[in-house]
């Protein structure tokens, strides 16, 4: 018994000594939640970056916390916030911004931007990415990583059916025309190669947004409280997508998995596909044939979706921790680091000056495909982002799935979705 109490005393004494030591050096300690949504050694890349940051800023210590997928990250961060222990910095979906604002969980960056250098840093992001970071004239997050969708085609298949292998389809009509030629039906009616495949298993609203942008429409406005799911532009876009499967019969009917879509492409079961820019390296490594990659085909105009993570600074932590968090975010998204992150992970660097760094230039010279997402940036539209975003995106995803599985007509599915969205967003309208 005696030895036990003395052990506790000893432990208390050493804790006291440790904290005294800490008080002397007093580095500000912040924690950094980050998700991993892609393959590759993200954890070691993050740790390497943090080691270099700490070397440059000895008075700040960053504790990286790998927090699972994007949905798990926001779950963990919000739970921690409610328990009074939020992380100082977290990377979460840009579309989670309204949820985080509604929970009062994050602080705006504007209070931390003081010097001209800070302002130049904040102005350096591509404006289209900033739309998903701004609300009510304030900047609530900064783009940390971004992706888009690109168009890939199998050059061998093009040659086989007499198409120019160097030229992908440039508009909606050409996609149908090429896909009809490329679709291969066996004598028994079984299709051994589809002309075109667009994934639809998850966040399919994202692909619909690309079509809607090309059709010169909008899926939602920028207040986060109004969607336009039943507008003619959106209905036409979904109709076009559904027609690929049921009218032109050039796409596999039903829901197409994100994961199997590139595989179908490698196996020659799909001659043209749309998939994320994050798949560039995957396709480059695994396609057993020469392939082409280009920006998405146009209709009334060019258009493309974006998505990805923002870095957010949390409410409910002390001022000096928030300042330290700001320094860290700023450093992490400055040109050199943004370029490095982009090269190592395949995400699109969210600032023009990152594309001008030597490292990025060398990378693009070696792998020209990496330039295609950059070429698409002028046509990108902000991602669907509303209050109660998870719920709204599920509503539109369900409508798309119902249409692609021929359970509902696109017009009907979208008007149902709009009614449901109106019901959910009613509370947020003034």
């Amino acid at each position: 018994m005696k030895s036990w109490t003395s052990w506790i005393k000893g432990a208390l004494a050493s804790v006291a000594m440790l904290s005294a030591g800490a008080a002397q050096a007093a580095p500000v300690e912040i924690s950094f939640y980050y998700p991993v949504a892609i393959g590759g050694p993200v954890a070691s890349i993050v740790e390497d970056l943090i080691a270099r940051f700490e070397a440059q800023y000895p008075d700040i210590k960053v504790k990286p916390v790998y927090s699972g997928t994007y949905p798990e990250t926001i779950s963990k961060a919000l739970t921690a916030y409610r328990a009074g222990q939020p992380p100082e910095v977290a990377v979460m979906l840009s579309t989670d911004m309204y949820t985080l604002i509604d929970e009062d969980a994050i602080v705006a960056f504007d209070d931390f931007v003081k010097t001209d250098e800070d302002k130049a840093w904040l102005d350096g992001f591509f404006p289209v990415f900033m739309v998903n970071s701004e609300h009510d004239g304030k900047t609530w997050g900064v783009p940390f990583q971004r992706g888009t969708t690109l168009f890939f085609w199998n050059k061998d298949a093009f040659s086989e059916v007499g198409l120019d292998p160097e030229k992908g389809p440039q508009n909606w009509e050409e996609v149908v025309e090429f896909a009809t030629k490329l679709t291969k039906r066996e004598a028994d009616g079984n299709v051994s190669r589809w002309g075109m495949q667009v994934p639809s298993s998850l966040t399919s609203y994202w692909l619909l947004q690309g079509y809607v942008a090309q059709n010169d429409g909008k899926i939602a406005d920028e207040t986060g409280a109004q969607t336009y799911f039943d507008s003619p532009e959106v209905v036409e876009s979904l109709q076009y997508w559904v027609d690929l499967a049921y009218k032109h019969k050039v796409m596999k009917p039903g829901v197409i998995e994100w994961a199997t879509n590139p595989k179908d492409f490698f196996e020659g079961r799909a001659a043209m596909i749309t998939t994320t820019s994050g798949n560039l390296t995957n396709i480059k490594t695994n396609a057993p044939f020469p392939f082409g990659v280009q920006i998405l085909p146009e209709h009334k105009k060019r258009g493309a979706p974006t998505s990805g993570g923002n870095a957010y600074i949390f409410n409910g932590v002390s001022q000096d921790k928030q300042e330290a968090a700001f320094q860290f975010v700023k450093w992490l998204s400055s040109p050199e680091q943004a370029a490095e992150w982009s090269i190592k992970t395949g995400y699109i660097a969210a600032r023009e000056d990152a594309w001008a760094t030597d490292a990025m230039k060398a990378y693009v010279a070696e792998f020209p495909g990496a330039l295609v997402p950059h070429e698409q940036i002028p046509y990108m539209v902000p991602e669907l982002s509303t209050h109660e975003n998870q719920r709204i995106s599920r509503v539109i995803d369900d409508a798309i799935e119902a249409s692609l599985t021929a359970r509902k007509e696109p017009g009907q599915a979208l008007s149902d979705a709009q009614k449901e969205a109106d019901r959910i967003l009613e509370d947020y309208r003034d």
């Binding site: 949905p71 929970e103 079984n190 998850l202 039903g254 829901v255 719920r391 599920r394 369900d398 119902a402």
Partner: protein, 291 residues
């Protein structure tokens, strides 16, 4: 003095279990019930008492209705099939055949594997075109099918997986019950000239009824409780064709952050399960014992 000591000791012994049960079971259950009468607080909007609004919202919620229907089909499909299959497997591995140990192990194997791993394996089985099932069916001239991407086949596909996963576990209970049955019964029946099917139908099956009741309750609870494969394989899609109740509760609570509505859904789910268990234990229990 002595008397109080007598009272204190048992309470102290119960304390750890009571604290744990209260903290992680009873208090959350009561809180869930209370929360279901409020609206979810958001950062700038406090919780507000709304009475039965959450419950009436449910009736006009198409996703809830779809989940309810799916779960009913799922339970009606998986429970009898899992029971029949596990009984059959138990009878097979209870008989004196060669390779019995190997057979028992292979029947039990799906139970040992984690659901997440199993779901990922079956995800490959169901892959359109080059998944195991399509490749096998292709040998007989069937066309490729999008098993998990088609609302007509997705729920059935999940049910097959669930039956396969569950049956091995229930087989253990049947096997134990079969070994309790005295061999004199089968000897007597053989002397009387009863066929094996007649013996199974009139002797073995009735004697297994208490086990069947136990297995049935567990199977029904599992059909509402196990949703790992839904998360891994379909996320409830396409168009909610494979959304089960608990998966919907999970979505509402941890993706939509609507804790109050999720509480109301949980209360309904618990009430339904309690009712089922009550019917089974209260009504059937009296009838299952062979006298």
């Amino acid at each position: 003095m002595k008397k109080t000591n007598n009272m204190v000791a048992p309470w102290l012994l119960l304390l750890p279990a009571t604290v744990l049960l209260a903290a992680f079971t009873h208090i959350p259950a009561v809180m869930t019930f209370i929360n279901s009468f409020y609206r979810t607080p958001r950062g700038n909007r406090p919780a507000r008492f709304v009475g039965l609004d959450q419950y009436s919202n449910m009736l006009s919620d198409p996703v809830f209705m779809a989940a309810l229907k799916n779960n009913a089909i799922y339970a009606l499909g998986t429970v009898p099939a899992a029971i029949a299959l596990s009984m059959l497997m138990a009878v097979i591995v209870n008989s004196a055949i060669r390779g019995r140990a190997l057979l028992r192990m292979s029947f039990f194997l799906p139970t040992v594997l984690p659901m997440i791993a199993v779901a990922n394996i079956w995800l490959f089985f169901y892959t359109p075109g080059y998944g195991l099932i399509d490749q096998f069916l292709g040998l007989f001239g069937f066309h490729e099918r999008n098993w998990l991407g088609d609302p007509d086949t997705v729920l059935g596909s999940l049910m097959v997986l669930a039956i396969w996963k569950e049956a091995g576990f229930f087989m253990i209970f049947y096997l134990a019950a079969l070994q309790q049955i005295s061999p004199t019964l089968s000897e007597a029946a053989a002397l009387e000239g009863a066929s094996r099917w007649y013996f199974f139908r009139r002797v073995t099956f009735p004697l297994l009824m208490p086990t069947t009741l136990f297995v049935m309750i567990n199977a029904i609870i599992n059909s509402f409780r196990l949703i790992d494969h839904v998360i891994v394989m379909t996320r409830g899609g396409p168009d909610n064709a494979s959304t089960l109740l608990l998966y919907y509760v999970y979505n509402v609570a941890f993706r939509f952050w609507d804790a109050a509505y999720a509480s109301a859904l949980t209360v309904v789910l618990l009430a339904a399960l309690a009712l089922l268990a009550f019917v089974q234990f209260g009504v059937l229990d009296r009838k299952v014992h062979y006298k």
